[in-house]
């Protein structure tokens, strides 16, 4: 990365979200740069998921602002965020199990047949949706024999692949992935990490929420460390040891943003 000023694709300034006496976000900042894979890590209760929910429209912050390409935005709901080109792959909530791959890829954005058949009879264009699904799956190198089988008959990695392919197919600005490898085995996790690389190659920035440090260090360009409702630092994987990052995350070490060095924290 150069030091030239780049407008972040997605930015958050001093987000606050309180639930009664519990403060989930306590003035959290966030920056996602063009074309990068940004990992978001933090202990349970650090406000990681609240931050992501605020960025994807699933919750509305009490104060603070969100900027998309430098413009302030206020997302009413997840659909609104999607309309702005932010696609999210939710953990365990990615696909409709009994529907086939093409139906899942186009769920909520179905394509109808041209002419009267589509306008009056609302007839779906199954063929076109299957062809486009096949193209998207191929671009991410997700091998599947049939697009007509229900996704519940797929393996966990393939199912995640369908969810990722859908997000990438529709995302114009950002792809958000919430624990995409949490439920997967080693080989399948590797496939998902490969997919994330291909998404980056296409120039789409990715926000990756993960507990899995080896995966984060393997794939991320930068790591956003969330602690006690705010961002305590952003580091590059090459500059720090994994153990150091975990220590920052838990508060055992503190990061001096100016020098990038760490000092013992008060915990």
């Amino acid at each position: 990365m150069t030091d030239a000023p780049v407008t972040p694709v997605l930015q958050a300034r001093r987000l606050v979200k309180r639930y009664g006496h519990v403060t989930a976000l306590d003035g959290a900042d966030f920056d996602l740069l063009p074309g990068e894979v940004l990992a978001v890590i933090g202990d349970n209760g650090a406000g990681k998921s609240s931050l992501i929910k605020a960025l994807t429209g699933a919750l509305q912050p009490d104060s603070g602002e969100i900027l998309l390409d430098g413009e302030p935005v206020r997302f009413r709901d997840p659909l609104h965020a999607r309309e702005h080109g932010i696609e999210t792959v939710y953990q365990d909530l990615a696909v409709a199990a009994s529907l086939d791959i093409a139906s899942n890829m186009f769920l909520g954005r179905e394509v109808r047949r041209p002419g009267l058949l589509g306008k009056v009879f609302r007839l779906l264009d199954h063929k076109r949706m299957r062809e486009e699904s096949a193209r998207h799956m191929a671009e991410l190198k997700i091998g599947l024999r049939s697009l007509t089988q229900p996704v519940e008959s797929l393996s966990g990695g393939q199912r995640q692949g369908v969810a990722v392919a859908r997000a990438v197919a529709w995302a114009r600005h950002v792809v958000v992935m919430d624990e995409p490898t949490a439920a997967l085995g080693v080989k399948e996790s590797g496939q998902v990490l490969d997919m994330i690389r291909r998404v980056r190659e296409r120039g789409l920035p990715v926000i990756l929420i993960s507990h899995n440090m080896p995966h984060v260090f393997e794939i991320a360009d930068r790591i956003h460390i969330q602690r006690l409702g705010r961002r305590v630092g952003v580091i590059k994987p090459g500059d720090h040891e994994m153990a150091e990052v975990v220590a920052i995350m838990t508060g055992a070490l503190q990061l001096d943003q100016g020098t990038g060095s760490t000092v013992a924290g008060r915990s």
Binding site: R82, A96, S98, L99, E110, R122, L123, L124, G156
Partner: protein, 334 residues
């Protein structure tokens, strides 16, 4: 993820199920085989079963419950259930019969109002399910009692007779190759085909299945789940209104006692048709098969001279069998 490191990588299950296996796991395959076996059995054991007239009779006997079961299928596909559909139909029937018999409004308007009343109760169910929100079982159980009481209050427990012709028109017959078929039977079949199309070939249908799979997945994909749910319950109510007209045309009267067990019979038809009570899986044409299975068993056993209480017993056993098959097939998928 330390545990994942110690386990060997899962074997890639990329292979699509074979054509034969997919055919066997199609949810309507079981009901179709059951129906054909039942037809074969009764054809061999009674002379009268395998006649056009008898088939026409079976369809007439199942058309009211079958139509109710279309609405029930929609609701069960969203992982809901409707216990009030028989009562709503009875109320709709009384409304149209009374309005028409009193001469208060023209017969066609009476029919339209009766159907609208049913749709309104469907909408009310949908609103209660989505906005409070309450479990569909409880909402429709409550509504069953409310509508049952309203039916008796409104009708003063009196059967309404002497209905004008439009209300009984669907009971008239036409001939197909010498076999007399009622217009009501034809309407029922057309309704099944219409909803098979809507569920299988339109975006609305995809959304109904997605909602039944998981309302959270559907919501996060951008489907307006509350509006969709209210729409499904309202559409079901509309279909119950048509069932009310079929009921009135078949019996020729408005009967406040009608339809009291039809709610459970409609669930029976849906379940026998291979639709999962957990939502998201099933076909409305399966429900048609399910309704026909009940009808064929009742009719065939009657022709064999078996007492009606055994017909009920066998229906009960079939339902438990069907749900067992559903459970086992789900376990295999997981």
């Amino acid at each position: 993820m330390t545990s994942a490191l110690s386990t060997p990588p899962a074997p890639a299950r990329t292979g699509a199920p074979s054509a034969a296996r997919r055919l066997l796991t199609t949810p309507t395959m079981g009901p179709l085989v059951a129906l054909l076996l039942a037809c074969a059995f009764f054809s061999l054991n009674t002379d009268q079963f395998l006649t056009g007239g008898n088939f026409s009779l079976v369809i007439q006997q199942v058309m009211v419950v079958g139509t109710l079961a279309i609405g029930q299928t929609l609701i069960i596909l969203t992982a809901g259930i409707d216990l009030a559909n028989g009562a709503i139909m009875a109320f709709g029937g009384i409304v149209m019969a009374k309005l028409a018999a009193d001469g208060a409004v023209p017969p066609l308007l009476a029919i339209a109002l009766g159907i609208l009343v049913c749709a309104a109760f469907g909408a009310l169910n949908g609103l209660l399910v989505t906005s409070i929100p309450l479990p569909p079982f409880i909402v429709t159980l409550g509504m069953l009692n409310v509508v049952f009481a309203l039916t008796h209050i409104y009708s003063a427990d009196q059967t309404v007779a002497n209905l004008p012709a439009p209300l009984t028109a669907l009971g008239e017959t036409f001939a197909i190759g010498g076999t007399l078929v009622t217009y009501g039977s034809l309407l029922t079949i057309l309704l099944f085909l219409l909803f098979a199309y809507l569920l299988g070939q339109t975006a609305w249908g995809r959304h109904v299945y997605a909602l039944g799979n998981s309302s959270e997945v559907a919501r996060l994909t951008g489907i307006r789940t509350r509006r969709l749910t209210v729409g499904v319950y309202t559409t079901a109510g509309l279909v119950y209104g048509i069932a009310a007209l079929l009921l009135v045309s078949r019996t020729g009267v408005g009967d406040p006692q009608a339809g009291q067990t039809d709610n459970l019979d409609s669930i029976t038809a849906v379940v026998l048709g291979g639709t999962s009570l957990f939502g998201g899986r099933g076909l409305v044409l399966g429900t048609l098969l399910g309704a026909l299975i009940v009808g064929v068993f009742r009719n065939g056993l009657q022709l064999m001279g078996v007492s009606s209480i055994y017909q009920t017993l066998i229906t009960g056993v079939l339902v438990i069998l069907a749900v067992t098959v559903d459970q086992l097939s789900r376990r295999r998928i997981r």
